[in-house]
């Protein structure tokens, strides 16, 4: 009876407890399923990877599988978000941008405390030209990682490009606090100052930028504009000259973005990354990208060409030669590989072999002016001047503005004793590039020393010789020798003697005995108030 009474008393609460547990469990199950399905619905499918290398395919499949496994074992939240974000990075690094966007959107939801995901999402969108949505994402990034200075710089740049100078200025200054002397922030502030006609501020910012980062060409270039505005032509030229010696523009370092390159398995993209690194003269990085490309696709001739060019650039001729030969083996119609190999052989003094390589390159690409020019130079070195003139004329027929070919043509004509047409060629070059030291020196030499009296012009020779010397810092004994000859032809023997002595000293200290001997002989002539005639 008592037991029955107990049951009667307790069935309802027990039932309610069971019901509550059932409802709680059911709710949890449904919510988990909803979340699971939401992730699956929004997680991008793997892209079409046919034709892609196996490493890329494997990496994507691995990351994708890993997410599936995590979902199945009930992993949710930050850990899942991190894995989805990692897949997004893989997609971004290999240029599957749509998929990267979907991954980052999911990762941001699953792991909202990680600043990388909104930042990387911002980056992909910004690459496509968007700015408004990018600003929101960057703000979110900075709320999570206030000291991540690349995000500050990116925001500043976007505000600048949207014409919001006040906000841009605040952010560039914030960037400067985080990264003292940052050239990009200083450039941004200088551009804002120029926009507001605050020339003094712009000058100060730019001078600081080039003082701290002498290799930052854009600052030199803008500084040239500021000097131009000030009417200071000499400083303007100096800034432009310095800019021309700098590497091309390189974006500011950004660890979260630069880190993506390590996840790139796309050979074309690795070649582009290497090419960008070369532009920035970062040989080590270029070598790393090309090396990875080779490991991924050892049979790709483009990879061997890239490696060959890089090795040649840093003076590793033997290695370069190996890469070009391999490129030819892989693609026997590669005109570029024949051309590059020809250049190496010429440098090694194997002129006949070089010539054959250039001719082979022309079989496949007959209108490449660079090949004709190099063929011309090879023939010049073989002292086959008439054939050289022919090849160089061909280069100029294809590209009349090819000033190297024109200079070489001048040299070939001069070697044939055709000094007048040679002078004409040099004049054409100098009308376009008046400060180029090499043709300036060549024309000065002819005008100072040619047997044809009608062609000689001492005053003009001095002008060109001075340009040549100035552009080489006045320390080239050959150019000083020319200047001395020009002074002598102009009847300025005292200056000729002084300059010849300077040339002689420099030639001796450089160990150039032949030149020293020549200059010594000429010096005696100048002392005797005689000009030197060839």
């Amino acid at each position: 009876m008592e037991k029955k009474g107990f049951l009667k008393r307790t069935w309802l609460p027990s039932f309610l407890v069971v019901l509550a547990l059932f409802i709680a469990g059911g709710t949890w199950f449904l919510m988990d399923r909803a979340r699971y399905n939401a992730v699956l619905d929004n997680l991008p499918s793997a892209p079409d990877l046919s034709g892609k290398n196996t490493t890329l395919t494997q990496e994507i499949e691995k990351a994708d599988r890993e997410i599936g496994r995590s979902l199945n074992v009930g992993t949710r939240g930050s850990e899942l978000g991190r894995k989805i974000g990692e897949l997004g990075r893989l997609y971004q690094a290999n240029h599957f941008y749509d998929r990267a966007i979907l991954c980052y959107e999911l990762a941001t939801k699953e792991e909202p405390e990680n600043p990388r995901w909104p930042y990387l999402l911002a980056f992909v969108r910004q690459e496509r030209g968007e700015s408004e949505s990018v600003l929101n994402l960057l703000e979110k990034t900075l709320s999570l990682a206030p000291d991540y200075s690349p995000a500050v710089l990116r925001m500043a740049d976007i505000h600048f490009k949207n014409g919001d100078m006040d906000q841009a200025k605040v952010l560039y200054e914030r960037r400067l606090k985080l990264r003292q002397g940052d050239p990009h922030a200083l450039l941004g502030l200088a551009r804002i100052a120029v926009k507001h006609s605050q020339w003094k501020t712009a000058r100060t910012r730019l001078q600081e930028s080039v003082r701290l980062n002498p290799e930052f060409g854009n600052a030199h270039r803008l500084l040239a504009s500021v000097h131009e505005h000030d009417g200071d032509e000499e400083k303007m030229r100096d800034s432009l000259d310095r800019a021309s010696k700098c590497t091309r523009f390189r974006p500011a370092a950004d660890p979260w973005i630069d880190d993506l390159n390590g996840r790139c398995y796309d050979v074309d993209q690795l070649l582009v990354l290497g090419s960008k690194a070369i532009t920035a003269l970062d040989i080590e990085e270029a070598s790393s990208f090309f090396g990875r490309a080779k490991a991924l696709e050892p049979g790709n001739p483009e990879v061997h060409l890239a490696l060959g060019r890089l090795c040649f650039m840093v003076g590793q001729r033997v290695e370069a030669r190996g890469f070009f030969e391999e490129a030819i083996r892989l693609d026997p119609k590669s005109d570029e590989a024949y051309f590059q190999l020809g250049v190496i052989l010429r440098r090694e003094g194997k002129l006949n072999e070089a010539k054959q390589m250039f001719l082979r390159a022309l079989d496949f690409h007959p209108d490449n002016p660079n090949v004709h020019n190099n063929l011309g130079v090879t023939l010049l070195e073989q002292r086959k001047f008439r054939e050289a003139v022919e090849a160089l004329n061909k280069a100029l027929e294809i590209y009349p503005e090819h000033i190297n070919a024109r200079y070489n043509l001048g040299l070939a004509l001069w070697s044939l004793g055709k000094t007048e047409p040679a002078v004409q060629e040099y004049r054409k070059i100098l009308s376009v590039k008046p400060n180029w030291a090499i043709p300036a020196n060549s024309i000065a030499w002819i005008l100072a020393t040619d047997r044809n009296k009608k062609l000689r012009n001492g005053d003009e020779a001095v002008q060109w010789a001075l340009i040549a010397c100035k552009n080489d810092g006045g320390k080239n004994p050959e150019y000083l020798d020319t200047l001395a000859a020009a002074y002598a032809e102009a009847g300025r023997f005292e200056e000729a003697v002084r300059t010849a002595r300077k040339s002689l000293n420099l030639a001796r200290s450089a160990g150039d005995a032949d030149l020293a001997e020549e200059v010594e002989k000429r010096l005696q002539l100048y002392k005797a108030k005689k000009a030197f005639i060839e």
Partner: protein, 458 residues
């Protein structure tokens, strides 16, 4: 057993809590994840699967291919050379009522005229003397003698070069379509565009000149002083200017200059004119992607709201080896919001997008967009070189395939060439890098929309 009223109330309350809490949780979670409750519940009870279709993000889902263009090669054939058509424009040069095409051929270093005479028959002839590296041609009666002269932007060399080898050249028409070259200025950074307009309000035609240069470029306007004399006024000291259209952008009655500056700048400027040739520089858009690849702009009232907008492509990829498509290449427009404020709208992705032209392809009253590509994955024969974005009338765009052959299309102009009331396309090919198996010089693509065929997407 009798259950009291209070027990029933308690039970109901308890049940309400037991059901209400989960419902509240579900509603909250649905809202938090941006779904409706129905959508959320559907997800909760649906079977889990592995199929995960890729949803479009900001990329347009391709529409079906509509076959409506008839391809006709016009002008000189491709021959043995690899054509370098750097610019072309449709114009009735001899003013005989038939549309012709003027072409910059950088391989031949020559401007040529593809004359339509008689209707439907095209002949190509060289005009003027050679111009090295011609980059752009703009017809304009610069001397106001009633015939069309040609403004030629001379780069000197198409590929990167920092030397001062550019020039502003005018091919003066003697009235019989015989042309004489006048060099207005030379030995300047490589010139990429020249656009005419009375910029100082004195009644003659001045010029807006874009100079790409390489490391050092600039922009200037050239004031017409009469008798073929022009005075230069600098506007901008940046390298990379590609296009400089002239238009009244702020509706104040004078002509402003728009400029697209590529290289690492990737910016669009409006030089706001005070009507007397004094310009205020306004940066209206810029991409912070230094490799954005800005390739072209044109000024057009795209949304037909009465003010000029800017149609803009980014698809240049010659800076780094190997040249090829980038995932951010595509087409966008900058909507004129008044007071020289512009809003960016992405139209769609298109690798290597080089030039876009707004045109009502299907005569449905809105402007669609034709686009050509110069840098795409040409090794794949299915890779598109020309597409069009169909406007749904609400500035929503759907891309449709047009052509995969020929490759390397740099230029697109549109006009009703045959007078049938439908706008035709004219394209130019620039084959500077391989493959060279699907080349073209100048092609006319006749619009045969009434006879169109829908091709199912594969």
């Amino acid at each position: 057993m009798r259950i009291s009223k209070s027990t029933i109330v308690s039970l109901l309350a308890l049940l309400a809590i037991l059901i209400g809490i989960p419902l509240a949780l579900i509603t909250y979670e649905a809202g938090r994840t941006g779904q409706s409750v129905g959508e959320y519940l559907r997800r909760a009870i649906s079977k889990t699967g592995t199929e995960r279709p890729l949803k479009a993000t900001n990329v347009n889902v391709p529409g079906e291919k509509i076959d409506f263009l008839e391809r006709i090669s016009i002008g000189d054939p491709v021959g043995d050379s690899k054509p370098w058509i750097t610019h072309l424009t449709v114009v009735d040069l001899d003013q005989d009522g038939l549309k012709d095409i003027v072409v910059c051929d950088a391989k031949r270093n020559q401007i040529s005229w593809i004359q339509q005479d008689p209707k439907g028959t095209y002949h190509e002839k060289k005009i003027g003397s050679q111009v090295r590296g011609p980059a752009h041609v703009t017809p304009c009666d610069i001397d106001k003698d009633g015939d069309l002269d040609l403004l030629i932007a001379k780069m000197g060399m198409i590929f990167p070069n920092n030397d001062k080898i550019g020039a502003v050249v005018v091919l003066e028409n003697n009235g019989n379509c015989q042309f004489i070259n006048h060099v207005l200025i030379d030995k300047i950074a490589r010139v990429t565009d020249i656009q005419p307009g009375d910029l100082d309000g004195d009644g003659d035609i001045d010029l807006a000149v874009g100079q790409f240069g390489y490391d050092d470029g600039e922009m200037r306007w050239m004031e017409n002083k009469g008798n073929w004399k022009f005075e230069s006024h600098p506007l901008l000291n940046l390298s990379g200017t590609i296009h400089t259209p002239v238009r009244d952008m702020d509706g104040d009655g004078d002509l402003d200059i728009v400029a697209l500056v590529s290289q690492e700048w990737e910016e669009v400027y409006v030089f706001e004119n005070d009507g007397h040739g004094q310009f205020k520089t306004r940066l209206i858009y810029g991409s912070t992607n230094e490799d954005f690849g800005s390739s072209g702009i044109s000024v057009v009232d795209l949304d037909l709201d009465g003010d000029p907008d800017i149609l803009y492509t980014n698809g240049d990829a010659f800076d780094y080896i190997p040249p090829g498509p980038r995932p951010w290449h595509g087409v966008q427009w900058l909507e004129n919001k008044g007071d020289l404020k512009f809003q960016y709208h992405r139209i769609g992705d298109f690798p290597g997008a080089y030039f876009a032209n707004a045109v009502d392809v299907d005569k449905d009253g809105d402007l669609d967009i034709g686009v050509v590509s110069s840098f795409n994955k040409w090794d794949d024969p299915k890779t598109q070189s020309m597409i069009w974005f169909e406007n749904n009338g609400k500035m929503g765009f759907t891309p449709h395939d047009l052509a995969s052959d020929p490759t390397h299309l740099l230029l697109l102009d549109t006009a009703d060439m045959d007078g049938d009331g439908w706008v035709d396309f004219v394209t130019g090919g620039m084959h500077a890098y391989p493959p060279f198996d699907r080349m073209s010089r100048v092609l006319l693509w006749r619009n045969r929309w009434p006879e169109r065929k829908v091709v199912k997407n594969e």
